[in-house]
Symmetry: C2
Subunit: 337 residues, 2 copies
């Protein structure tokens, strides 16, 4: 009996041969099954001898499940790098998937080529389910997942097109409204907003909430639209606001990073925070405690969101009916307003 050729990994077949026992029995000791002590001993020795390591991929083919779920963030990459939220969501999801003995595989989609390849990967049987953050309704990946009926969960706003896929998120409208009202209650007269990512539901919703809070006092001239939830956008937006209304004394930034950028501009302009202008953010990310003064903001329970998202795909894997979940977002009042 010739040894396995140089670059071939040992298989069940090999250990069976080495132990002088059938493959079926080998499989039985690997998983749980009735097998005599002697047979078990012989096989375990053989396993060590030939250096056997099971091929999970082959096992999955017959088992028809991969014990893996994909995690993908459909964001511009700059944000993927900067946003601490998505990292926390990821970790939260991994936590629950891990105890359920599922492998979380993180897929980055950063180009059209990526999109196509990831779609293939998702439909190729490598994952049992998927968690998608920041889905856009017309995203090809979202479409593929829906068509495949792959168990999935959206985090963020529910894309209207795919009612069948549950989501976990927060009430962006309500939260934005609440913190804006809180800001207004400090007696500010000219409250503006740096509205980011209006092409995304979260961004649009936050603006909606802001507008609702101000009611008749809402002044469209006082909202600066910026593309991303990041620091640079905050700088840009605050400059714009200051130029349009030098008397501005309150601002709601669409994210903490945006707020941090805005505060930088205010400091350069010699405005005191919160003495001259009160500012509030959104996310309660690490940015919030890093600013000077510390930022008042909306707490976004990122880790919990991740956990719930994972839980939701596991439910579907167990054929339990999925249910959407909306997590609470307490206001964290610090010193910036």
């Amino acid at each position: 009996m010739a040894p396995p050729s140089k670059h071939r990994r040992a298989t069940v077949h090999d250990v069976a041969a080495a132990a002088g026992i059938s493959r079926g029995t080998v499989s039985r000791v690997l998983n749980g099954g009735y097998v005599s002590a002697e047979a078990r001993a012989a096989i375990e020795a053989a396993i060590a001898e030939v250096g056997y390591v099971p091929n999970t991929a082959a096992r999955n083919l017959v088992m028809r499940r991969s014990q893996a779920v994909g995690f993908l963030a459909l964001e511009p990459h700059s944000l993927l790098l900067e946003d601490p939220n998505i990292g926390a969501i990821m970790l939260g999801a991994n936590e629950v998937l891990s105890v359920a003995d599922h492998q979380m595989v993180n897929l980055v989609v950063d180009s059209a080529r990526d999109t196509e390849r990831v779609a293939r990967y998702l439909s190729g049987g490598f994952v049992d389910g998927a968690i998608i953050v920041s889905a856009r309704t017309h995203d090809p990946i979202t479409r593929v997942i829906a068509e495949l009926k792959l168990p999935a969960t959206f985090v963020g706003h529910p894309p209207d097109l795919h009612r069948s896929i549950p989501f976990v998120g927060i009430d962006n409208v309500g939260s934005a409204r609440a913190i804006t009202e809180r800001l207004a209650a400090t007696g500010r007269r000219h409250i503006g907003m740096i509205a980011a990512a209006l092409d995304r539901d979260s961004g649009a919703d936050r603006l909606t909430g802001f507008r609702a809070a101000l009611g008749a006092r809402f002044d469209p001239r006082l909202v600066a639209e910026v593309p991303l939830y990041d620091y640079a956008s905050g700088v840009k937006g605050m400059r714009e606001l200051l130029e349009r209304e030098p008397g501005i004394d309150g601002v709601f930034a669409a994210s903490d990073a945006v707020a941090a950028g805005a505060m930088e501009v205010l400091r350069d302009a010699g405005r005191g925070v919160p003495s001259d202008v009160g500012i509030v953010g959104f996310d309660d990310s690490s940015w919030a405690s890093r600013t000077q003064p510390a930022l008042s903001t909306v707490h976004q329970p990122a880790r919990e969101i991740g956990r719930n998202a994972a839980e939701l795909v596991l439910r579907q894997l167990r054929d339990e009916g999925p249910a959407n979940v909306l997590l609470p977002t307490p206001i964290v009042w610090r010193a910036s307003a």
Copy 2:
């Protein structure tokens, strides 16, 4: 001919049946092969009809390659969330893997349970290779990879134990020495260092370079040791330094994030930067341009590192001999020193 049962996905077999042609021919139209126009048309119609989507996992089993490579960062998670470098490395790696039509799968290892599961995943045939950032020599995952002879690349310092695995990195010693010398050249008398992550090669090497630059003027009292490359550590380290030597007028922070934390402390303490104390960092991350004044630092070509790491595993996949690569790290002199 009964339709495939409710929750079974259509297979090659099904489309063959639907088209009234053999499976072999179906496979040929899927991949490239000689097949008549009529047969092709019939099969394509059948594919659409039954909603066939290829099972890549099954294909990989017979092909003996997964067209996927794992990417794992063995970092404390706080860092994974904060360090923009690793994100950039990831994106760089994905770039080259993507054009090579390989799927990059990001694995997070965040607990002992994760470690074991990821090791199984890696050895289970799900990936053809792996990129490991911040490997520690005694990490179980590193060991598994070495034993499996899985084509891999380390990014960072080469773990001495596994000479067979190539690495891509930068010259931490040289870079640290260079920027410290540059700082000293501005006439500073009492130069300290906030040394982070000394348990990692990069951290230890930066301290070595710092020491080398100062030579006889090196004063061990002026190095504050902190655990991580993050903002909070910078705060802690700078406080320590200020207490030990109020006359300190220069500091080399082990990373930009650390430098940012340190600058915060200096500002609170009423010290001018760079008038009273000059400060330099490491990484040239987004932190560097965000500080006030902008940070002088060592540019770390994160994206290039990622690209090279990917290239290195692809080389091994093609059976080309691997070669380590050390990337240049230009000094970027801004306003903080």
